[in-house]
Symmetry: C2
Subunit: 187 residues, 2 copies
DNA sequence: TCAATAACTAAGCGGTTGCTTAGATTTAAC
DNA sequence: GTTAAATCTAAGCAACCGCTTAGTTATTGA
């Protein structure tokens, strides 16, 4: 009885995700989403409820796309070397042509304010604490490592990763690779 | 012949600076500035031309206030130990009561977009390349250091500092101190 | 063929953005 | 005391925000 949707929801979310990735959450307006996704605002709200819904779907899609890298980290038993590989893979993943966009999630963490949406805050926290747990798991694989240092080392690595999401917009590829190299020198 | 200004420009900029520090540039509206500075919008535009002008003056004031820390780094001849002291001093400086606000400048660097104001971009770049130059200067003081590594090490330190401006909103003080400790372990 | 139903377009809601204008008020020189 | 200049307040500008409503168009089963 009804008309068919004239767009594929996964396809338009992919376009939305890339826009959020470049601009962050707050700076991406629904008008911009409308243009980028190629559908009317009404259709956006009908399919995804609201702007928050579009973003949450974007994070989901981002998660499946980054899964290839995270999977390698999850299955790795190289200890800290596995984390180092993750950093380099992540650098590749965050590049679009010659431009580094950083990480969709950490880019958005950066713009968290006191009055930010709790739903989005929760989604971002879940994402980054997952990564930190993978760091802890991998660090524990190294035999000679001091157990008491592992939590602090995981914080250190998260700090480096968060830094990279800013640095990737400022530094060149050679510099970014140098940063990763030095980050792991003593771990 | 004329009426006197009923506010002190330095005092109201101090209040504006603290607001930008907490919220960033984009998220701070002129209405918020109006309330925080305690003067009318007209007076803001009369004194500082526009919102950009208020922010540039805020950076200037921030610079003079952080000068105490930067001066110590400038005059230090402890090599990398001087930089480490700077990191800890900076952590103290960026704390307001129990809350860490990070750095006004790096907080704003985080929200840079493709269409961000070039004037502000330039001011931020000047500020952070100054700090990086101080890192290079201090690293050169260490006798045993490999000259060829200094530039990469400066990038590494900038990455850690940028990371801290995000981490300081997420991690607790003990964790932040641990991050700094590990950052300097092998330098 | 035709009525039911879902997806479409376009217009507009109230609220906020950075910024300006109009006009009243205060100050100071003459 | 008068007048000129700078400051003040308050109202309002066009543009944008996230979101909704009204009405049209297309697709379907009966």
């Amino acid at each position: 009885m009804a008309r068919k949707k004239q767009y594929n929801e996964t396809e338009v979310i992919d376009k939305a995700m890339r826009l959020f990735w470049r601009n962050g959450y707050e700076s991406t307006s629904v008008r911009m989403l409308e243009k980028e996704m190629g559908i009317n605002q009404f259709s956006i709200y009908a399919s995804f409820k609201n702007k928050e819904g579009v973003f949450l779907e974007s994070i989901k899609l981002y998660n499946t796309q980054i899964k290839a890298i995270t999977n390698t980290l999850e299955k790795s038993n190289n200890g800290v070397e596995g984390i180092k590989d993750y950093f380099f893979d992540f650098l590749d993943f965050s590049r679009e042509g010659a431009i580094f966009k950083g990480c969709l999630v950490t880019n958005t963490v950066n713009e968290i304010k006191e009055d930010s949406s709790p739903v989005i805050m929760a989604a971002l926290k879940r994402f980054s604490s997952n990564i930190r747990e993978l760091f802890v798991r991998n660090l524990k694989q190294d035999d000679l490592r001091d157990e008491k240092e592992i939590e602090a080392q995981a914080d250190y690595l998260m700090n480096a990763l968060l830094g990279l999401s800013i640095s990737s917009k400022v530094f060149k590829e050679e510099q970014l690779k140098g940063i990763i190299r030095i980050t792991f020198l003593h771990l």
